[in-house]
Amino acid sequence: MTTMHRRAFIRQTGFSAAILPFITGLPSLALAAPARPRQRLVVVFSPNGTIPPAFWPDEVGRDFQLKEILSPLAPYRDRMLTLHGLSNKVRGDGDGHMRGMSCLLTGIELLPGNIMGGSGVPAGWASGISIDQEIKNYFQSRELTRTRFGSLEFGVGVQDRADPWTRMSYAGSGQPVAPISDPYQMHEKLYGQIKDRENLRSVLDPLKAELAKVRTMISAEDRRVLEEHESLVRQLEREITQSSSQTLRVTPPDLERGIADQNDNVPRLSRMQIDLLVNSFVNEMARVATLQYTKSVGGARMNWLDITDGHHGLSHEPDTDEAARKKLIKINTWFAGEVRYLADKLAATPEPGGDGSMLDHTMIVWTNELGKGNSHTLDNIPFVLLGGGFGFDMGRALKFDKVPHNRLHLALAHGAGHRIETFGKRDLCTAGPLALA
């Protein structure tokens, strides 16, 4: 049974619906199922809320104008969805920033804990898995969509600390996934094996020479051990040769050397991380990625934009502070530019072994922990979708009325083929996945 469709198989063999969950686990059936086109998900995070009037399109539907902050994404207007009106309705312990961040992708309350925010009750980590990890687990559970890492968590300037303000990705309750902010560390994670293999290969000739020399110096009885040892080294050499014949589709990016993980390098670090991200996708290392810029309450000083104030401090300024407003628009526009760079790279890369570009098979979700910085509202969280492959009807500006953001997560899961009924807090999922198709 190699080519029979799953449905045909079920029909012919008379399996009832009740046993479906069991037989879908059969490897042969999984293989027989028609392969879905390749799908990938990238969640991009930038902090401290947005400036709503400069972000949300005024119109609803296909005919909409991009506002200033989203203007860098103009070439992709027809492949975007702006989703106004999604609310993070998760309540419970923790301050707005903490819940904004740690409930953003999990849609579930924080655990009791020892972290006291600016207000509210102290809290701990999120009590459930995040949607990126949920979809990653789904992909990893199936032969056809399994990759070496499943997901990769990139950070840019996320500071070396761990708290509910710095983690949005969770493997499960109380299990935050730390993003890797150092591109060199990420490079090592992705390609270290290849470097190791080269290094090991380079020492085998001198090693063989050494063993051969020692062999001549020892007694006949002991020689047997050395001969066995030599044959093991030859075996190792064959294995290295074989494994290096499984070449990568593209070579690892050559990272500019010596870029320290610090504030003023953020623009360069951002591009390095995006290069590594797209590269890892081409080489089939993962199908899910997160790209986290700083953290909730992130205070990056964007000197490269001639803004010397910290981002978080600025975001607290009242709407009437026109200077702060301008700076915040500039900051958020810069983030949009980085999303544009990511989209450009994906659009410029042909889908390996498939149709179209990689962007056609990748959904970028750009989001934020707050709707608006100075009010700390968790309503109207910025959600912009860009790309393809999830079966959504793109090229629209949509408006909802305080819909729980859990419903977007459900839509993403369903778009990935993972038909779960609830995600995160169950009560917030009653209306089902957001209709985006």
């Binding site: 972290i115 380079s202 020492v203 020692v214 190792l236």
Partner: protein, 811 residues
Amino acid sequence: MTRPSPLSFGTAAALVTMAAAAAVVSCTVAPPVTIASGKQIYGQKCADCHGARGEGVDNKYQGALVGDWSLPRLARYIEKNMPDDHPGTLAPRESEAVAAYVFESFYSPAAQARLNPARIELAHLTNRQYAVTIADLIRAVAPPTAAEPMSSDATHGLAATYFSVAQRGRFDAAKIAHRGTDAAVDFVFPENGELRARLALPPLDRPATPNSREPAGFSAQWRGTVIAEETGDHEFVIRTPNSIRVWINAEPDPRSGNEPTLDVNVSTPMDPDHRVTLRLLGGRAYPIAIDWWALPEKTGSPVVPAISLRWKPPHGSERPIPARNLSSGKAAPTFVVATRFPADDSSQGYERSISVSKAWDEATTNAAFEVANHVIKHLDRLAGTRPEDPARAQKLAAFAENFVGAAFRRPLTPEETQRNVTALLRTAPDVENGVRRVVLLALKSPHFLYTEVPAHESDTTRTATRLAFSLWDSAPDVELARAAKEGRLRTPEEVAAQASRLLADPRARAKVREFFQHWLQLRYLEDLGKDAKLFPDFTPDIIDDLRASLGAFVDVVVWSEHSDFRDLLRADYLFANDRLATFYGLPAPAGLATSGEFARVTAPAGQRSGVLTHPYLLAALSYKSTSSPIHRGVFLTRSIVGRALKPPPQAQTFDETSFDHSMTMREKVVKLTRSENCQGCHAVINPLGFSLEWYDAVGRYRTTENGRPIDAASDYTDDGQASVRFAGPRDVAEFAITNAHANQAFIEQLFHHLVKQTPRAYGTATVTRLRDSFIASGYNLRKLIAEIATLAALPAVGTATVAATPTPPHP
């Protein structure tokens, strides 16, 4: 060269005894007539099942005919039991003839020694040697640090500093509330509690305005070392609902690039245990640093600040780390390789490494990468340079060459420098990868991996290497290497002087300690749990205490002034804390500062006899509810009187329910093992095991069992046919102290553990000579260890294939 596996049972295999000399005599003079006739009878009646040369036959009698019974005993056994299908059909003269033939041709240790001539074999590092050597290698190539590897003047417990404010990861010297030493870190800080008052800690309430920058909360730092007693995985558990950063076996200095071992900013009262498992080498101190902060909270928060530093050491249960394992001193981190190697060959009763396998080769590759990653991560610090140092390349090259020399345990030849260093640095894409390649090749090289590889080394360098490996399982230190270089290691006296210096090092203590763990089979004694109804007070705490008590006893005896082996077997004292003293009815220990400490207490007269009666062993060698004379007897047979035992010819399970309830354990064992088949071994095992019937399943002294008086006395037939009466453990101890065979078995085990070669390779009379001087020294263990190491460092025979050729006897 591997010898046949039948010798694998028991630790007394391949004994070199006085009998060896006798065998030499008999095979060099004309064989007695009986041997020829014995050979004929053997061929007709025995060879079908045992093979032409006693090697065994598949599906018949598979084991080889090899053992340490005396000739008369062998003859008696054959007369009664052989041939298996018609026992008793051989005439006494025929049995004697067969026994003589078998004994002389292959059975006896002397025959085995002749058939398998001993030599010093090519051996690679054992797993322990690998780990210790790498740890010392990384330390040797690093620039000296301020912290000594071990410091002894520090007090038990950790140095503690409490602060009257909690700032995330910051500790303000101006806000110190209290300083002192905490014997253990195991505290709860309830509101208005005595502890908070004593430490002058403020309330946790947040200031009225939420966003106030006013400091609040409190915090603490603990600094010092944690001392691992045994080698293996140690699971550390920090239990706290608050925030911590913990460095274990790493410097908390941010400049060192060391991430915290545990970094828990966010904690939840539902899951306050934060765990990390670290592999540690026994007998060493490791730096530990804990930063803890209780952040401000709302008034009336249900969460009570608390911290407990706990661990689960190998063979132990989880518990707060006792004061004896904590010190306020300093120690430098030790690099402990985490790669798992396949188990060493223990088929000869001790760990050695004379064969290679795919799994081993892969482990050497993985471990080489692990070390290389560590070296590259700390490269600038190790090489004493900085990224912007103009001389960095030269310094890294010098470091690389130094590394290879340290790995090879000798200076490099010019060709080696070229091949192992220069060429690799030149062809690598960058200098970091160049150093990485140098490390990989050095640690894959036979010059690192094998201890007996002939190379371009002087005799004294080889002597130094052998000495260091025998006493430390590691490479020579600077001082020993210098002595070798200056030619100061040529005479036994010069080597012995270095041996006693090396013996004073903690590494020697650790290796000797592991020998005694091996001798007492402590690595395999895991499950001491007993029937909770019968022994409700025999808790995991008691079991942990017992293991520590036994370790303390052995340490104290070995490292005391007299280092007297006899004390190990017959001491009337043991080490106890209050808990053990209460449970075992011992006098209360005096002068204990903390619960983790033990004091020497003398047991009531006649109740204890050294390790033979240590409750840890007695409890381990027992069933869940009763004693086990068989387990105890096997232990005494193998470890204490040093006899080889074969596996039982028939499987027998001890089924308590199959016996009449009124029977004593001794009666049950007698009944179970009464067949002639069993008696071959149980004639030896049972009398030894019965001598310990004075102790119940948890090792408590008793005088009755089931209301009947204990009968522990029995007659043990020594191999020399003389019968010895054992009324209790003390008689066994006295026997083992004076019996030549027992002494030699002990010495041979110690030799194996230290040298990883058979003593026969150093001359057939090695063990008897060692015994003579052991007795002359008053059974001094340290002198024996030093003498073994000296002898093995200066073998009369080289590494070449020089068999232990028997010297022709004097006419």
